[in-house]
Symmetry: C2
Subunit: 345 residues, 2 copies
Amino acid sequence: MPVGTQGTVKAVSPRELHELNAQVILGNTYHLFVRPGLEVIRRLGGLHRFMGWDGPILTDSGGFQVFSLSKLRRITEEGVHFQNHLDGAACFIGPETSMEIQQVLGSDIVMAFDECPPHPCTHEAAAKSLELTLRWERRSLDWWAARNDAGERPLLFGIVQGSSHEDLRVRSAQELVAMGWDGYAVGGVSVGEPEPEMMKAVEYAVPHLPEDRPRYAMGLGTPPQMVELVARGIDMFDCVLPTRVARNGTAFTAAGTLNLKNACFTLDEGPIEAGCDCYACANFSRAYLRHLVKAEEILGLRLISLHNLHFYIGLMAKVREVIEQGCFDEFRREFVGGYKPHKDV
Amino acid sequence: MPVGTQGTVKAVSPRELHELNAQVILGNTYHLFVRPGLEVIRRLGGLHRFMGWDGPILTDSGGFQVFSLSKLRRITEEGVHFQNHLDGAACFIGPETSMEIQQVLGSDIVMAFDECPPHPCTHEAAAKSLELTLRWERRSLDWWAARNDAGERPLLFGIVQGSSHEDLRVRSAQELVAMGWDGYAVGGVSVGEPEPEMMKAVEYAVPHLPEDRPRYAMGLGTPPQMVELVARGIDMFDCVLPTRVARNGTAFTAAGTLNLKNACFTLDEGPIEAGCDCYACANFSRAYLRHLVKAEEILGLRLISLHNLHFYIGLMAKVREVIEQGCFDEFRREFVGGYKPHKDV
């Protein structure tokens, strides 16, 4: 899922998202709650209409951003009091608020409200945080159950927490499955822990999540990480990398990343990636893209964003294909082995 | 002509330029000479191929930018020695250099190399500058005449100078016509002079320029200025305003400019301009565009740039239509009378 934090996938238009075959995009509840605010999106007919995107939208619960972006947080049983990162205004989000916001946004896939503990986190602190998260997730589900329009409700996804502790990840997954969600996410990953620890957190949880429901690793990852996570049973991803690094001139290819600022591309007539049929590769040379990036021209980051999203979405399409053909293991070995990341990414 | 200073119309792709029915775009010789440099564009097959634009390109001569952007200039009979604005490297551009650069760029419409005197400028200084410009323009023409591929050469446009002095503007125009150019530009306007003085500079020159050749006012203007200049015999314009003000959240409409940052648009469901069929107006509300501009999202300035270029190109299409229908005067009266610019533009 391309990430559309503030009601737009950065630098990309809805028409381009359709052309990229984006199936779902992600909207950030916290950011949209702070700006433009719920009243604006409500009055403008929901997030789909507001941003001109008629495909599915998954919204996060705001939990992660409340903990990573806001200031002066106070956590109570009820929810989180905080000052927003824009103007410092006092705000509150709890499970019910989060569900209400996501309903107003018109989300197609709603995430449970959770606490995302920092890394590292002791077993004691992680256990206490998990119990609160489980109560908040129960309340998230109950909010929807209490409504009489159950037939029209969005899909509801629970989030596995538990930091790096196996017993907590297992307990979290089992409790969520007992509650019965439409899909299951692994959260509290990509919060600064080393990659092996992130992989372990997923490995602890996944065997306890039903195979017939989507399993989603939140906020991940690099191309080889995604392939490795698919190998561990993950079905869905969201990640800002394709668009974020594009704004710094970095492009993804199957052989690894390219920093298009590098002088070696000054006279390079080739496309970012040979054989790629994205708009950028079909029409422009590395030399031109390097020029645009060096000259800080917006078209440069636009074109690299398009290529990178095309690469990410194409990689997942390829993964689905090799799974169907029964040759995923071979693909995984070749892809992960052949991928040489530039040191920046 | 949308302006593509550094090898891209800012924030707009070639595909979008075609969809906007842009007939010609402008490239800036000075900027491209400084970055990426002539060798890069030569090796990459010229500016059209480099930037992926297969429509016509007009290039300026670099004269205006040498005088407005570079440092430590020394003007000799030969040309201009200067330090470029990027890294201070010592550079030289004279008439022959300018023609050679424009040839390497692969320009379809080449501008003569001229000196652009500052505003205000005494009669004595303007007269001296004009004589130098006339010699440089002669040398610009001679450079092309000395080549044996006259049948394939681009169109060559001379530039009327003379500052605010009627006799100099007239002499400039008459001398140029005697040389015989494919088209004629009025330069040295929009250099800080009040609007009436700019209009007069055009009025002095135009009666002495042949009606059967394109007449081009360089670097202009606002929508009513363009209509007023058409009334004075001008056929062609280039202007950065549509894209420049878009990056600040300002949109053009037939009723004047809108600053989309304004709070009054917070809940405005309407498009920038009712009835407009550009991509921005067909799909997005003023409220959404305001949100994007406030959140400093690139999609905001992209969409407003598209709308503004659509507005400018559409205004000129309308002007051609009313001229053909014999009702230009009525259109001019209504349009110029009904246009209320926001104070920022």
